[in-house]
């Protein structure tokens, strides 16, 4: 038995290039999974670390349902018998010179030390030994801040130096570590109120309560009270879609990787059929051959898994940065801590590598064990049989496909089930590859003869002849390419839908402040309104609320202005809905309607400052601004409900026919800039939204590239195996008088033929995938309808990828042919 195993292992060394390719195939697959899973995990844990770090010892938080709170509430809180400790917080953002938005916490260090004792410990001790007067700067210098240490390092800021921000120059007097990785600025609450122009206001108060029930009984009306647990839950639900996206990406990496490894090992086994036949005919027992195979596979799996885990670990650092910037764009500025190397990563890599390898070798091994040694001796199975096998695979594929489709339709809100079903669909379609290849063979022959003459014709025949292997290679390549097309089409359609939506809702000529860091002063809004020639001024206010315990948003707008200037994309009906909005009704986004199962005509209950209020839902509209759901109401309704006069941004509409249009625009712009408010044209405003969109899908794009890399190794490995197997054929070609050039071009044609057919199939499968992603996955996880937009770019990109990958994969075999062809013999004959 040892001898058999040894002989197998010697083969690995003899066929170095092939072994290396197989090894890289497994390594790449493992790397993709490890990289994606690790970075997703570290990003998500950084996320919740940041939240729990800032929660500190606080048990609850109290805030207004919308907007800020008058700080005079603090004396009532302080006297409340259920309150053990409290800390008022002004939680704001400002923009750094490099464009990043950074969170600023305005706190009172005296009160805050009960809630977050660690937060201020370090910056204050750091300054020990300096004069007492300088230590008091935090309270006395209006520009004094503490800056998170890693950000300070990155920006090259040391204590004592100044920092430019959108709120003017700030002076960093000390730095502090934040284990969660969220960059922060800490400021005395007095100074924060000044620089954010919120005198007498706080955003929320963190509390340590002795008796929650008792406390709630007194503070229920007009306030929102959330326990730490509820806050974490809210947060989890807020990032739910993002988490899902990351998990889906991890799953996709796993699927593609397992498929590739499966493919690789299958080749390993199939290409050794003949060797196995020889050994069996020499009297080696069936189980000895099987064990020898397994030893080979496990060595490849272990080595590939180990290399893959290291590569994956390196990859995860890169991906963590990408995910970090997406989080910063979507939620808050965060630099997730990259994962730390551990033995477990190596172990999981090896387990994954070996597991997928064994899975891949299972079927061929079973088949091999059953095969008669004489049959096996013939090496490659006959085409007739491979045709039958292809049919069998196709039947299996149809069954998988049907089951998957049923699951997909029945999965409802079960997103993970839907994802599993999607992969099932992909798997089912990939199983059809063999039979499609059989049917497509004549067409392929025509195509390749046109491209490469006789060499092309032979190449087409070869692909058909070696269906067992070429089918698997094409299937693997096709899956990877389909992923690429599917994801790209989904993103493209989404982007198109977003652009369409912007055109319906955001029709202002100028937008003053779109960024969350600035609010538009009320008097400025009034000032703009007083300019008669301006067609309309819309004051936009967006606040996060809890609806039935889940995150949702309320936006306040000027209904008469939007009625005149915007062209909302109503799901049903038309602009007549505005009349109801003007008289106190609300309209809801599609995501809200789906998320909370609310329909036009229903009433919803909102907790206002004076208690619960029933509001009638007039209509629903398409919206992509938040997947959590949006309730839109007229500003007057909103003010009645919440007494919150803050304005996030202002849209200015000027009649296109107005002869003074440009002059008015300039006036508004000057007025805004004079107040230090950012001004955006409609185009700039659109671009900033698209930027956020693009950043959201940065990680998806990385996954597309990874899929293509994996695909490359898949097709290269397959070609190489085919070539090695066909040494004998080359001898025949030589005997038939084929020149080196002809055999080279034949090899190239074979590669291109496989690439081409993979591409053609992936166009169909990719489109189906895109359709599922858009109509099922997105609709269910984000609760919004994306309109399918056919785009040629993903297909073109995939065509180029397929071509280049086939070319690249053929290079080594061609080089081999050119070197060895003249000496080739038909050794066996």
């Amino acid at each position: 038995m040892k001898i058999v195993t040894k002989s197998f292992l010697r083969y690995l060394i003899r066929r170095r290039s092939l072994s290396l390719l197989q090894l890289m195939g497994i390594a790449c697959g493992v790397a993709a999974v490890i990289g994606m899973v690790l970075s997703a995990r570290s990003a998500l844990s950084s996320f919740s670390d940041a939240v729990s770090f800032l929660q500190g010892k606080g048990t609850h938080l109290i805030e207004r349902p919308a907007g800020t709170m008058d700080e005079r509430i603090l004396t009532d809180l302080m006297r409340d018998r259920a309150v053990r400790s409290m800390s008022p917080v002004l939680d704001r953002k400002l923009r750094l010179e490099d464009g990043n938005l950074i969170r600023v916490l305005g706190i009172d260090p005296f009160l805050d030390r009960q809630i977050r004792p660690e937060l201020l410990h370090s910056p204050f001790t750091q300054r020990r030994g300096e004069s007492g007067e300088r230590n008091m700067e935090f309270f006395l210098d209006e520009r004094a801040v503490f800056l998170e240490a890693r950000l300070a390092d990155k920006m090259g800021i040391s204590p004592g130096s100044d920092m430019k921000t959108s709120r003017g120059l700030l002076r960093v007097i000390a730095t502090f570590p934040n284990p969660s990785g969220e960059p922060l600025i800490l400021m005395d609450i007095a100074h924060a109120q000044e620089i954010f122009e919120l005198p007498g206001q706080v955003d929320h108060v963190d509390l340590i309560l002795d008796d929650e029930v008792d406390f709630r009984s007194r503070w229920e009306t007009g306030f929102r009270i959330q326990s730490s647990l509820e806050r974490q839950e809210t947060f989890r639900s807020m990032v739910g879609a993002f988490r899902l996206n990351l998990e889906a990406m991890s799953l996709m990496a796993l699927f593609v990787a397992v498929f590739l490894i499966y493919n690789t090992t299958m080749f390993t086994v199939v290409s050794r059929r003949k060797d196995a036949g020889i050994l069996r005919s020499l009297g080696v027992k069936r189980y000895e051959v099987t064990i020898a195979f397994l030893a080979e596979i496990l060595i490849l799996g272990t080595a590939g898994g180990a290399i893959g885990s290291v590569l994956g670990y390196l990859l995860s650092h890169f991906l963590t940065t990408i995910i970090g910037s997406t989080i910063s764009n979507l939620y808050f500025f965060l630099r997730p801590t990259p994962p730390i190397w551990s033995f477990l990563i190596l172990l999981s890599g090896i387990i994954l590598g070996c597991g997928a390898s064994i899975l891949g070798s299972l079927l061929p091994l079973v088949e091999l064990a059953r095969t008669d040694p004489v049959e096996a001796l013939r090496g490659r199975s006959a085409s007739r049989r491979s045709g039958k096998k292809a049919l069998k695979a196709a039947y299996a594929g149809i069954v998988v496909l049907m089951i998957s489709l049923v699951i997909l339709l029945a999965s409802g809100k079960q997103i993970y089930m839907a994802y599993a079903a999607t992969f099932g669909v992909l798997l089912g379609l990939s199983l059809l590859t063999g039979i499609l290849l059989v049917y497509a063979a004549p067409a392929l022959k025509v195509f390749l003869s046109l491209v490469g003459g006789i060499a092309g014709k032979v190449a087409a025949g070869n692909i058909r002849q070696n269906l067992g292997r070429s089918g698997v290679a094409v299937a693997a390549f096709m899956v990877a390419l389909s992923m690429s097309i599917g994801l790209a089409s989904m993103i493209g359609s989404f982007r198109e839908s977003l652009a369409w939506w912007m055109g319906t809702q955001l029709r202002g000529d100028l937008y003053i402040s779109n960024a969350s860091e600035t609010e538009v002063p009320l008097d400025f809004y009034e000032e703009l309104r007083s300019i008669n020639a301006i067609g309309g001024v819309d004051a936009y206010r967006k606040v996060k609320i809890l609806y039935r315990g889940r995150t949702a948003y309320i936006t306040a707008i000027n209904a008469p202005v939007l009625q005149r200037f915007a062209r909302f994309a109503w799901i049903e009906g038309g602009d007549e809905h505005w009349e109801a909005v003007k008289s106190g009704g609300v309209i809801i986004s599609e995501s809200f309607a789906r998320n909370f199962n609310v329909r036009p005509g229903d009433t919803i209950a909102l907790d206002g400052i004076g208690g619960s209020v029933q509001l009638k839902v007039e209509a629903a509209f398409y919206d992509y601004s938040t997947e959590h759901g949006l309730i839109m109401m007229d500003r007057s309704t909103y003010l009645n409900l919440f007494h919150d006069y803050a304005i996030n941004s202002v849209a200015v509409f000027i009649n296109p026919a107005n002869p003074r249009r440009q002059e008015l625009l300039d006036t508004v712009r000057e007025k805004a800039l004079a107040r230090g408010l950012p001004v955006f044209t409609q185009k700039q405003f659109y671009n900033s939204i698209l930027e956020v969109f693009d950043s959201t899908f940065a990680i998806t794009r990385s996954m597309r590239i990874m899929a293509i890399v994996i695909a490359f190794f898949g097709i290269a490995g397959a070609l190489m195996t085919l070539f090695i197997e066909r040494q004998r054929d080359f001898g025949i070609y030589r005997a038939l008088g084929f020149s080196t050039g002809q055999v080279s071009s034949m090899t190239l044609m074979e590669a291109i033929g496989m690439g081409f057919i993979s591409f053609v199939l992936s166009c169909a499968v990719g489109t189906i995938l895109a359709f599922i992603l858009i109509k099922v996955i997105n609709l269910r996880s984000f609760n919004w309808t994306i309109f399918f937009h056919m785009q040629w770019q993903p297909y073109l990109l995939t065509a180029v990828t397929a071509f280049l990958a086939s070319l690249g994969a053929a290079l080594y075999p061609i080089w081999k042919v050119r070197r060895n062809y003249p000496q080739m013999q038909i050794r066996e004959e």
Partner: protein, 373 residues
């Protein structure tokens, strides 16, 4: 007086929330100094004197519950000036001064000691003191005078105290008509007065009690304010406030110096039953520690039993702490470790037996206080 050092230290340290990081700012800068004798106007002078940098209101008392269980309490409010003028008068958080409060309960019956502390700037009504009369608060702890009675109210978690204190003797002005000198130089002094005998009743509850208990007893109140800085020669102090069973009250403070000697300005006050006060100079007081207790937490070796003799008044007393551990270890927050606890003892006055109850405060035994200052 000795408590001044502790209080300045604690207030300043609490200001920044961390131990030993903040030397006392250079004094005076625009703050009024206690240099000459002042004319006192009560009840106005029970209120705050915001022109002075440091000020405190200090309540301690010995109480008896329904089942003759004995308790001690401490409720103190400190005000520490940060800058003489608020930079931004429109903003409530703009700092002029900071308030710090300590709240401690000694349960003599079961030998347990509990304490808590709070710090706050005045902000929008979070802490403060009236300038018209006694009404000082730091978050939900408050001491105020209403119709000649002092009302104390403090709660932290399941522990709370609600007391009514009725002065049985008039105000006692320490030192020279309330000017208490701390050193040879001008300005090294504070204004210092006390209510030494306050009849006390109210309710008290600790976390360990299922229901609050009604308590009665005697309290002691000190108020002191000034702007001076103490010398670095001093390592700590011992302070005693004793109610004697013959109706007299005795206050003694001993300021300890690095070289082992006692600061010559250390002194005391003996208050007669009729409220008449008598200043005691250092040479009038003979005090000897008889036993010690070593704190397992801080390692500080504190006296736990004393003999005091006041020859001019023919008083001789031996007394000890009622619970061994009444150390306030605030190393995790304010960083100062000190001892503030109930004492009781026996002795004679003019050969007549008497008993005594009161409070002792000891600082500088665990970690140097002088170093901070």
């Amino acid at each position: 007086m000795k408590r001044l050092i502790l209080r300045i230290t604690m207030v300043l340290i609490a200001v920044l929330g961390v131990i030993l990081m903040l030397p006392v700012p250079v004094p005076a800068d625009g703050w009024k100094q206690a240099i000459t004798q002042r004319s006192w106007h009560f009840p106005k002078d029970h209120g705050a004197h915001p022109d002075y940098r440091t000020e405190w209101w200090y309540f301690t008392g010995n109480l008896v519950g329904e089942k003759s269980n004995r308790y001690g309490y401490q409720l103190t409010f400190f005000r520490q000036g940060i800058q003489t003028e608020r930079k931004n008068r429109r903003n409530a958080w703009s700092i002029h001064d900071v308030y710090l409060a300590h709240f401690a309960i000694s349960d003599v019956g079961n030998g347990s000691f509990w304490f808590s502390e709070q710090v706050s700037r005045p902000g929008p009504g979070l802490a403060g003191a009236s300038t018209h009369g006694m009404d000082v608060w730091c978050l939900n702890w408050r001491a105020r005078m209403k119709n000649g009675r002092v009302l104390l109210d403090a709660k932290h978690g399941g522990t709370y105290l609600r007391l009514e204190l009725i002065p049985r003797k008039p105000v006692v002005l320490h030192g020279e008509n309330g000017l208490s000198r701390k050193g040879p130089l001008g300005g090294q002094a504070t204004y210092y007065y006390s209510f030494t005998d306050l009849e006390t009743k109210g309710i008290l509850k600790t976390e360990k009690m299922s229901d609050p208990v009604n308590v009665t007893g005697k309290s002691w109140f000190d108020q002191e304010f000034g702007s001076h800085q103490l010398s670095a020669e001093q390592v700590g102090w011992d302070w005693f406030s004793l109610h004697l069973s013959d109706g007299r009250d005795l206050m003694i403070y001993m300021l300890r110096r690095k070289d082992g000697t006692v600061e010559p300005s250390s002194s005391g006050t003996l208050v007669e039953k009729n409220g008449r006060a008598r200043h005691l100079k250092l040479q009038d007081i003979d005090i000897k520690p008889l036993a010690h207790w070593k704190s397992p937490a801080s390692g500080g070796l504190y006296p736990s039993r004393w003999q005091i003799r006041i020859p001019p008044a023919d008083i001789s007393l031996v007394f000890s702490t009622t619970i061994t551990n009444q150390e306030l270890d605030t190393a995790g927050s304010t960083g100062v470790i000190y001892y503030e606890g109930t004492v009781s003892g026996k002795g004679t006055s003019s050969h007549k037996p008497l008993t005594s109850e009161g409070y002792v405060e000891m600082t500088g035994y665990a970690g140097s206080i002088g170093g901070v200052i």
